[in-house]
Amino acid sequence: MVSGDTQAAGVVDPPRAVVRRHRVDWRGWKFMWPFALVFVFVFVIPIMYAVWISFFQQRMIGGTVFSGFANYSRLFRDGQFWSSVRRVALFTVVQVPIMLALAALMALALDSMKLHGTKFFRISTFLPYAVPAVVSTLIWGFVYGSKYGLVGSLNSWLGVHVDVLQPSVLLASIGNINTWEFTGYNMLIFYSSLSTIPHSLYEAAAIDGASEWQIVKRIKMPELKGSLAITVIFSIIGSFQLFNEPSILQNMVPGNAITTYYTPNMYAYNLSFSGNQSNYAAALAIVMAAMTMAIAYAVQLNSMKEQMK
């Protein structure tokens, strides 16, 4: 009732309503508290805590001391950190386009309604996403084994010596695992956006004499653009967080080819757990979070501009 009055008063007498609107009204906030409480405890406090401890340094001799921005300035001069960032950046630039192109192709093929067994195909390409990353990396690790794995069997059958776990191609091998895991997931996103296109559009195009390729180019591709932004952002975030695959493969790959700073996440993990430098790791985590958010935001802005056109 009261809100009704306010509204009515607003219509009748605008100046007075402005004054009234300034009166703090807490009723809406009361509905917020279950969310706010959870949000503060699981989100705000952990992040604030990480920021707080990143200003300290813990030493074996001398204990914990406040060090201001020392952890951050050390991070910016840390060659191992930047090499890990470069590695995931390279990974992103190569693996993400390949995976998304494959996913888009599969979605278009499924959507063409010219294939048999699309249900089976859809489920089977999505299935790898449902397999836990640890398990799928182990499976691939056994496949990759150049002595007794599937690669090893192929080697002895063909009489060659291919080693997909040697340092120079290792990143590509990890990329292959990731592509296998996530293509189906991205395919589903593309496919669902394709299936929102009304069939009348296709019929109209067919009546106008458009070829199948023209339909793909003029109707389907523009539709995919919208979901492309989402999949690109998800994929970039995912690649920057690369952790499971290299850390599992670490024990299966000879010669320590996967270093303790192979990816930023692995570096943070190893710093805090084997080097007792959780404060430094917190600084790293915050910088990486800021970097990932900045990149994701740039992609989003870019795609919004594209769609405005």
Binding site: V42, P167, I237, G255, S272, L284, A285
Partner: protein
């Protein structure tokens, strides 16, 4: 959003800290009054040593007022991670933990291990010299030796016979190098290494090197891998083996492939700790009968040895049940009933009495995890060789006070020497540089 492992860990620690302050209040009251009221004292023990299960049963039967909660929270570094977290959080730490010899200085300097010097008077002669030296730091005792890993030369006799080499006669590194060439000629590698820090440290120890030194107060650290003559000696020897393609650098240690290579002969021998027999019997079971054990080949051919692995039980200094905790580690690692329980389960003893007992020395079979006795070493009394190895371990080698970190970083710098063309000496120098900067950053004075 981004939640790295670190952040999740931090959140967890924060959460634990909150809960712990409550738990601590409740805990302290009950434990002090435990023995009087007939209530049971519950000890929390963290260890991955499988033979402790049997020890716990016997200990509880003898001490009805103490209940042991034995947990395997992970092997070596995984346990230390959990331990570090609990120590930092100020609660949740166990009363007793399994600590490997190389990690003792780290926890002793941090004052996380209880000094038990007063309780262990006269224990010196009980343990082998290498293990007893390993549980001490700055003249104080911080744990009781549980097992030991004196190094030995485990070899596949079939392969060496094929190559025409009598492996039991290999005494020096030069002879080992010559044998490696003959083994290579018949299509096998004499051994494998793709960058194992523990192996590198042990071989430097074996060569008589002392690259690491820490002052008694733990504040001054000396790192001299690049200047220590004996360390250089090993680095150059191993470089020669790698460059000439005599060792397998492509099979990761402890992998599926690695154990298969033990059975098919493509890796012909191992230079490793005395705890290896049970591992071979279980993971390379079909190699049974082919393998033998010999003393370590050394730099100059004189009998000496080094520890490779091995661990102790220590009391975590935050415990409120120190007496019960000591009772347990004394039973497990000093009492004859506790020790024999573990040795029967396949552990390699740390005490000289067991090592001299005929029951131990005459053993010619290895018990596998199914409880079967396997003649893995073709009937050889392998413990005779291993007991001799334990006797000849040289004392005086010091671990770094941050050995856990150092070993974790070894592969980052030497990896390319095993898989590529980088020189091992350069890798070692880079490794040392990283350790120096870590030491400085951790507040040590570095020389």
């Amino acid at each position: 959003m981004k939640f790295t492992a670190a952040k999740k860990g931090l959140a967890l620690v924060a959460g634990l800290a909150m809960v712990s302050s409550l738990a601590a209040c409740g805990g302290s009251g009950s434990s002090s009054g435990a023995s009087k009221s007939g209530e049971k004292t519950e000890l929390s023990v963290w260890a991955w040593e499988p033979t402790l299960k049997g020890v716990v049963k016997k200990f509880e039967a003898k001490n009805p007022d103490i209940k042991i909660k034995l947990q395997n929270v992970g092997t070596n570094t995984k346990e230390y991670t959990a331990l570090d977290n609990a120590i930092q959080a100020g609660s949740g730490a166990p009363d007793v933990a399994q600590i490997e010899y190389y990690a003792i200085p780290q926890y002793a300097i941090g004052k996380h291990l209880m000094d038990i010097t007063d309780k262990t008077n006269g224990f010196k002669g009980f343990y082998s010299p290498g293990t007893w030296a390993s549980v001490q730091w700055g003249g104080k005792v911080y744990g009781l030796p549980m097992d030991s890993g004196p190094m030995a030369f485990f070899y596949n006799k079939d392969v060496f016979d094929k190559a025409g080499v009598d492996a039991s006669q290999i005494k020096t590194w030069d002879e080992y190098y010559e044998a490696a060439k003959k083994v290579k000629a018949v299509g096998s590698y004499i051994t494998s290494d793709s960058g194992d820090a523990g192996f590198y440290d042990s071989m430097v120890w074996l060569a008589g090197g002392h690259p690491f030194k820490t002052s008694a107060d733990g504040k001054n650290v000396t790192l001299n891998l690049t200047g220590d003559e004996r360390a250089k000696e090993f680095t150059e020897f191993w470089q020669k083996m790698i460059s000439e393609g005599l060792i397998d650098t492509k099979t990761a240690g402890w992998s599926e492939d690695w154990f298969k290579a033990m059975t098919d002969g493509s890796i012909a021998s191992l230079l490793t700790g005395a705890w290896m027999p049970a591992n071979l019997a279980n993971s390379a079971a079909s190699g049974a009968g082919k393998w033998r054990v010999a003393p370590m080949p050394t730099l100059d051919g004189k009998a000496t040895d080094a520890e490779n692995g091995g661990s102790s039980l220590g009391i975590i200094s935050s415990t409120k049940k120190a007496d019960a905790a000591y009772k347990f580690i004394e039973f497990a690692n000093h009492d004859s009933e506790g020790v024999s329980t573990r040795v029967k389960g396949g552990a390699f003893p740390a005490d000289t009495k067991t090592m001299k007992s005929s029951e131990f020395l005459d053993a010619s079979t290895v018990k596998n995890s199914d409880g079967q006795d396997v003649e893995y070493f073709g009937g050889q009394k392998y413990n005779e060789v291993l007991a001799q190895a334990a006797e000849s371990v040289s004392t005086g080698y010091q671990f770094l006070p941050f050995e856990v970190y150092a070993r974790g970083k070894y592969g980052d710098f030497t990896g390319k020497s095993f898989t590529g063309d980088a020189k091992l000496t350069d890798g070692i120098a880079a490794w040392q540089k990283d350790m120096v900067s870590y030491a400085k950053q951790q507040g040590f004075e570095v020389k």
